[in-house]
C-alpha cells in the first residue's frame, strides 16, 4: 500500500487518501491539466485556488470521474484512491462516486421533497434496510449538514423551496448521506450570501473530522479560513502545493505571490 510509504513532508502525519501523479487532462486538442502531482490527506481540507480557467475544477472533477460525462475529455496519469487507480478499467465510476461525493457550484437539489433528496443516495446504494433506518440516515445527514433544525418540521416540503444557503447545505447533507470518504466541493459558496457562506464554512470545518474534503474556491480568504492545505493552479499547472499558512504568508513561487496579492488572476 502506498499509504505505508513514509511521506516526504515531515509535517504530514495523516493517512493519504488520494495520490495523484502525472495527471494530464485533454479537452479534444486542448491540454487543460499538465503534469499535476498532488496528495490529498484524510481528515484534511485541501483548497484549490487559482484564476478562472486554470483547471482547478477540471482536476476536481477527475477525482470522482465526473469528467467521464464529457465526451471529448481524456484523462491520463495515476490517480490513486487508497492505492487503487480510479481510472482502471475494472473501476465502475458509479461505485467510485458513492465513495467520493460531490457538491456543486450551484445548489442543485432534486425537485423532490427534502426527505427524498437525502434518502435518494442511500436508497439506490441500499444503505438502509427499512424505513426506520432510512429515517435515521436522513436525520443524521441533515444534522451533519447543519440544516436539521431548519427543516425538521417540513421534510415533505420540496427541496427547491429552500433559500440558496439552505439548498446548498441540503446538497452537502445529500452528499454526506451516502457516507463517502472524500467530499469534493466545487465553489460551494459562490452562489451564497456572506451569512450562508459563513454557515457552510463552519460546516466544512466540522466535516473535516470525518472526511477528506477538497474545496475549489475563488476566495483566497475562504481558502485561508477553511483549509489546512492549499494548491495553487495556474494555466493548467499545479504551481505550488503546501500548508495553507505557508502558501499565504511565504509563497515560494512568484506566480503564487502575484496571485494572492491580486496582481494576476
Amino acid at each position: 500500500m502506498n499509504d505505508m510509504r513514509p511521506v516526504e513532508r515531515s509535517v504530514d502525519t495523516k493517512e493519504i487518501k488520494f495520490e495523484c501523479s502525472d495527471v494530464q487532462v485533454y479537452y479534444g486538442a486542448t491540454h487543460a491539466i499538465k503534469d499535476v502531482n498532488v496528495t490529498l490527506e484524510d481528515k484534511t481540507v485541501t483548497a484549490f485556488i487559482g484564476p478562472s480557467g486554470c483547471g482547478k475544477s477540471t482536476f476536481l472533477r477527475c477525482l470522482n470521474r465526473m469528467n467521464d460525462t464529457i465526451d471529448i475529455c481524456r484523462v491520463t496519469g495515476n490517480l490513486l484512491l487508497d492505492g487503487e487507480d480510479i481510472y482502471d478499467k475494472r473501476v465502475d465510476p458509479v461505485q467510485l462516486r458513492a465513495k467520493v461525493g460531490m457538491v456543486f457550484q450551484k445548489p442543485n437539489p432534486f425537485p423532490k421533497s427534502i426527505y427524498d433528496n437525502i434518502a435518494y443516495g442511500p436508497r439506490i446504494h441500499g444503505l438502509a434496510k427499512n424505513k426506520a433506518e432510512l429515517d435515521e440516515i436522513v436525520e443524521k445527514s441533515l444534522r451533519r449538514g447543519a440544516i436539521w433544525d431548519e427543516v425538521k418540521d417540513r421534510l415533505d416540503a420540496p427541496g427547491t423551496g429552500l433559500s440558496g444557503g439552505q439548498q446548498q447545505r441540503l446538497c452537502i447533507a445529500r452528499a454526506i448521506a451516502t457516507e463517502p470518504e472524500v467530499l469534493l466541493m466545487d465553489e460551494p459558496c459562490s452562489a451564497l450570501d456572506p451569512i450562508a457562506t459563513a454557515q457552510v464554512e463552519e460546516l466544512i470545518d466540522e466535516l473535516r473530522e470525518n472526511y477528506s474534503v477538497v474545496i475549489v474556491t475563488h476566495s483566497m480568504q475562504q481558502a485561508a479560513r477553511v483549509s489546512q492545505k492549499t494548491a495553487f493552479f495556474h494555466l493548467g499547472n499545479l504551481v505550488e502545493f503546501g500548508e495553507t499558512g505557508k502558501i499565504f504568508t511565504n509563497p515560494r513561487d512568484p506566480r503564487t505571490e502575484s496571485y494572492i496579492t491580486g496582481r494576476i488572476g
Binding site: 465526473m66 460525462t69 458509479v94 462516486r97 461525493g101 457538491v103 432534486f110 435518494y120 439506490i124 445529500r174
Partner: protein
C-alpha cells in the same frame, strides 16, 4: 407640453445629448414611430387570424349544427302476420326471409292510417299513397325489420315507431328545401311538403336531437338522413389506441437513447437529420409506404384500423421524438450532475430524475402528435379506409382487423356526394372532429399544468 418646456431650466447646449429631455429628438421620434407601426402590423396579423377563425367556425357551426337535429315521423305500424310470418310459426328463420321490401307496404298502410286519423286526406295535397310513403326514409323498412327480428312475439300487434323523415322533408324544416325548389325537384313535390306541415300540426312529425348521427353507420347516396359517424368514430378511436400504444413507447425510448446514451458521432447525426426530415415528409407518402409494406407485403387487410394505426404511428413518431428530445434537453444539466454526484448510474439519473421532469413536455408532444394523426386523411385513403363501411368493427383486438372508416375520411367522403344533405352531415362530422381535437389539446394543457406544479 410647450408650457413645461418653457418653464424648464435651460438645457445644456453642448455635447451629444444637447437639448431638453422634454423634447423627443428626431431619432427618438423615428424609433417610436417604427415601434408604433410594428405594433399595428402585429395587431393586424392577429386580427386576420382571429377573423379567419371566426369565419371558419361560423361557417362550420352554421352548416353542421343542423346535422345533430333530425325530422322524425311517428307512425303506428300494424305488424301484419299475413305479410311477416305467413305460416304463423314465429320461426325466426322464416321471419328473416322477409326482406325490407316486404315491410314497405306496412309503412305505407301506417302512413295512410295516420293521415285518416288526423282527419286529412292525400287528395287535399295531391299526393298518392306512394308519394306519402316516400316522405319516410328508406331506412324505415330496415328499422322495422330489425325490430321484428328482435321481437318476433310482437307480430300481429300495432306498435308505435318513430321513423326518420326523408332527406328532402328534413331539408324543408332546415331551410334547404322550399316550395319553389320542390317544384323543380324530382325527389319531392310541394304536395308532400304541405302534407308534412299538416302532419306536424297533427303532432305526427317532429324535429329533435338525433343520436343516430353519432351512433349510426354511414348510409348510401339516397338516404342521407340515416347516415351517421359511428363507424368512423370507432375506426378513429381504434387507430388512436394503436398509435398511442406504439408511438409513445417507441418514440420515448428512441429519444432517451439518442439524447442520453448514444455517442455523438456521424451516425447519430445522420439519424437526427433523418428524423427531422421524416417529420416533414408529406403524409400521403406514408400512405403509399403503408400500402406497399403493410398491405401488399405483410398481407394485412385493407381498410383496417390496424393498418391505419401503423401508418399514423410512422407519421407521428418523428413528432414525438422531436418533442421528447427537446423536453429532455431542457432539463437542467445540474440535475444530471446531482444524480451522478450521489452515485446514481446513468440510467438511474435518467429514469429517476430527468424523465419525470421531461414528462409534461413528452405528454404534450404526444398529444399534439395524436391530434395531428386524428385529423390525417390522405394516407388513410391510400390504404382503403375511404371505403363505404356499413358494418361496425367488432371489439378489439379482432376489431382492429375489421374494415372501418375514419372521421376525416368520412368528412371527405360525404363532401363528394351529390345530395346537399350530405354537406350538412360533413360539417356535423367536422364539428365532432374539432371537439375531439379541442379536448385533446385541453388534456395536454391540463397534464402539463398538473405535472409542472410538482416541482
Amino acid at each position: 407640453m410647450t408650457d413645461a418646456t418653457a418653464n424648464a431650466a435651460p438645457a445644456p447646449k453642448q455635447g451629444k445629448h444637447a437639448g431638453s429631455l422634454f423634447d423627443a429628438d428626431a431619432r427618438t421620434k423615428k424609433r417610436n414611430a417604427a415601434e408604433t407601426r410594428f405594433r399595428a402590423y402585429g395587431l393586424t396579423a392577429v386580427g386576420i387570424g382571429v377573423a379567419a377563425l371566426i369565419m371558419l367556425m361560423t361557417s362550420i357551426l352554421g352548416q353542421g349544427l343542423p346535422a345533430f337535429n333530425q325530422t322524425f315521423i311517428t307512425l303506428d305500424v300494424y305488424l301484419d302476420e299475413a305479410k311477416l310470418d305467413k305460416n304463423g310459426t314465429r320461426d325466426i328463420e322464416a321471419i328473416k326471409k322477409v326482406s325490407t321490401f316486404g315491410y314497405a307496404p306496412l309503412i305505407k298502410n301506417a302512413m295512410a292510417a295516420k293521415v285518416d286519423e288526423l282527419g286529412i286526406s292525400f287528395e287535399t295535397f295531391g299526393v298518392s299513397g306512394k308519394d306519402a310513403e316516400a316522405m319516410i326514409s328508406k331506412e324505415a323498412a330496415a328499422q322495422l325489420r330489425r325490430f321484428v327480428i328482435a321481437h318476433p312475439d310482437r307480430i300481429g300487434d300495432t306498435v308505435e315507431f318513430e321513423f326518420l323523415a326523408s332527406g328532402r322533408i328534413d331539408g324543408y324544416y332546415k331551410g334547404r328545401v322550399s316550395m319553389e325548389s320542390a317544384e323543380k325537384d324530382s325527389n319531392v313535390t310541394p304536395g308532400q311538403l304541405q302534407l308534412a306541415d299538416a302532419l306536424k300540426e297533427g303532432g305526427a312529425l317532429s324535429t329533435h336531437f338525433n343520436w343516430g348521427f353519432i351512433t349510426m353507420a354511414d348510409a348510401s347516396e339516397n338516404r342521407p338522413e340515416a347516415a351517421g359517424i359511428g363507424v368512423a368514430m370507432l375506426g378513429s378511436l381504434y387507430m388512436m389506441i394503436i398509435v398511442l400504444c406504439l408511438a409513445l413507447p417507441i418514440g420515448v425510448a428512441a429519444s432517451i437513447y439518442l439524447e442520453e446514451f448514444a455517442p455523438k458521432n456521424w451516425i447519430t447525426d445522420l439519424i437526427e437529420v433523418n428524423i427531422s426530415n421524416l417529420a416533414a415528409v408529406p403524409s400521403i407518402v406514408f400512405g403509399i409506404l403503408g400500402l406497399a409494406i403493410f398491405i401488399n407485403y405483410a398481407g394485412l387487410p385493407q381498410s383496417a384500423p390496424v393498418v391505419g394505426g401503423l401508418v399514423l404511428t410512422l407519421m407521428t413518431l418523428p413528432t414525438i421524438i422531436i418533442s421528447t428530445r427537446a423536453s429532455l434537453k431542457s432539463v437542467p444539466p445540474s440535475i444530471r450532475d446531482a444524480a451522478l454526484g450521489v452515485g446514481a448510474s446513468k440510467m438511474q439519473s435518467v429514469f429517476h430524475h430527468v424523465l419525470p421532469l421531461a414528462a409534461p413536455g413528452i405528454l404534450t408532444g404526444t398529444i399534439i402528435g395524436l391530434a395531428q394523426a386524428l385529423g390525417e386523411t390522405a394516407p388513410l385513403m391510400l390504404i382503403g379506409m375511404v371505403a363505404f363501411v356499413r358494418e361496425f368493427p367488432s371489439a378489439p383486438p379482432e376489431g382492429f382487423f375489421d374494415p372501418a372508416s375514419a372521421l376525416p375520411v368520412q368528412v371527405y367522403n360525404w363532401t363528394t356526394r351529390a345530395d346537399p344533405a350530405f354537406v350538412e352531415r360533413a360539417s356535423g362530422a367536422i364539428i365532432v372532429l374539432l371537439i375531439f381535437l379541442l379536448c385533446m389539446n385541453f388534456l395536454a394543457i391540463v397534464l402539463r399544468r398538473r405535472f409542472e406544479r410538482r416541482w
